[in-house]
Symmetry: C2
Subunit: 256 residues, 2 copies
Amino acid sequence: MQQTPGGGGEGVRSVLRALDLLALFDETHRSRTVRELIDATGLPKSTVVRLVATLEQRGLLWTRADGRLAPGAGMLRWAQLAQDAWQLPAEAVECLRSLSEESGGESSRIYVRQGVSRLCVAQHEGTQQLRHVVRIGEAMPLWAGASGHVLLAGSPPEDVRAAAAAAGRGPDFGPVLAERVRRAEEQGWAVSHGEREDGVSAVAAPVTDATGRVAAAVGLGGPTSRFTRERVEGFLPVVLKVAEQLSKLQFIGGRP
Amino acid sequence: MQQTPGGGGEGVRSVLRALDLLALFDETHRSRTVRELIDATGLPKSTVVRLVATLEQRGLLWTRADGRLAPGAGMLRWAQLAQDAWQLPAEAVECLRSLSEESGGESSRIYVRQGVSRLCVAQHEGTQQLRHVVRIGEAMPLWAGASGHVLLAGSPPEDVRAAAAAAGRGPDFGPVLAERVRRAEEQGWAVSHGEREDGVSAVAAPVTDATGRVAAAVGLGGPTSRFTRERVEGFLPVVLKVAEQLSKLQFIGGRP
């Protein structure tokens, strides 16, 4: 990383640490103590206290009456912003709903790429009792899963290498991922079984932008036990149809 | 600021700068160029580029197909978190609605304190054509407006001094604010006219937690032309009644 006057690497590191602290709050950890943050990050207490104070100052954390830290009201502003930018047009919502319905009740979702991660930006939860649900906006690895392969399709080889390196699975994994991406490119869709999580399968196809580049991936996710060869063959035409419909809507990337 | 190994002041500064960059995106600026960010912050290009890259890495910013920066999908996760933590119980939503209705259609809202700021966490928009609307989660000065005085009620004098200092109105403002806060404490409510914004008035009363401390302020805001002495006298009993109802609900500060 290039160093510039005014602190390069150190500043970036602090920003990443602050964002990582915020990432420790989720549905199962709605509040945390400073001690928990120290244990979870392995950072020195002084660093955590300083970052917490900075985040509190901007309203992103909040000390509750019981002394525990929780997401601050300042996040509400971001909530508004993010939802404005990423809210799907009604037609796209309908696409996801019908994809889920026509698959017999699997969860349908749209992912976008962010560096070596993929983020789910929209989901229609399946109706099956055993269903696969992901968190909206949470970073998931780009190297794993059908939607990851689809999102990497058409990318320069160095992007695929970076995604493979992030997997931490050694040098042999690079060619493995490159081959999966190549196949997704060739077929125009991808299927995966248990790549990120044991027992979870997915089917995905690319949503393209006006220039024909992959802007997002749309697909289905569910238990491997229900993603048999036969059922996947049934899912594919529906996934491809919805991918085409979404591509025509040209909504990925936010409104002007 | 205390310096510690691993970078104190520099790190904090970078975190604040990163958050300030994000704050430049709002309803009227849904996307920005790097140039705009440089101009708006006065920071060197290298610093802005580095911060943007860091925020993109975590999905908080996103480069759209047209090359402009926009809020990233990673913010969606925060949206979920913030709304989980701050969503009002149905009874509280109903309180705000009835307050707005009984005031003849002024906007009602709940503010919490965050350092020397106050943040609106909930709002019921008035029905009048000329109505006062604030942004949810946006930091507003604690020194100005009826809800600011109410939020400072019962605070140690150094908090009032810090809030006054943040106003940047010189040393004479300290005692002025202290007197306003004292009056809010004594009366159990506050009224303000044009303190933060010309032509805007407000009435507010405290929402207390289980220990009797001020946890939030609830009140009405609207054009000064409609906040005459007579109408404000009519608003007060309703504001006080709703403040009492909200205090009983004990919801401020998020669910466990």
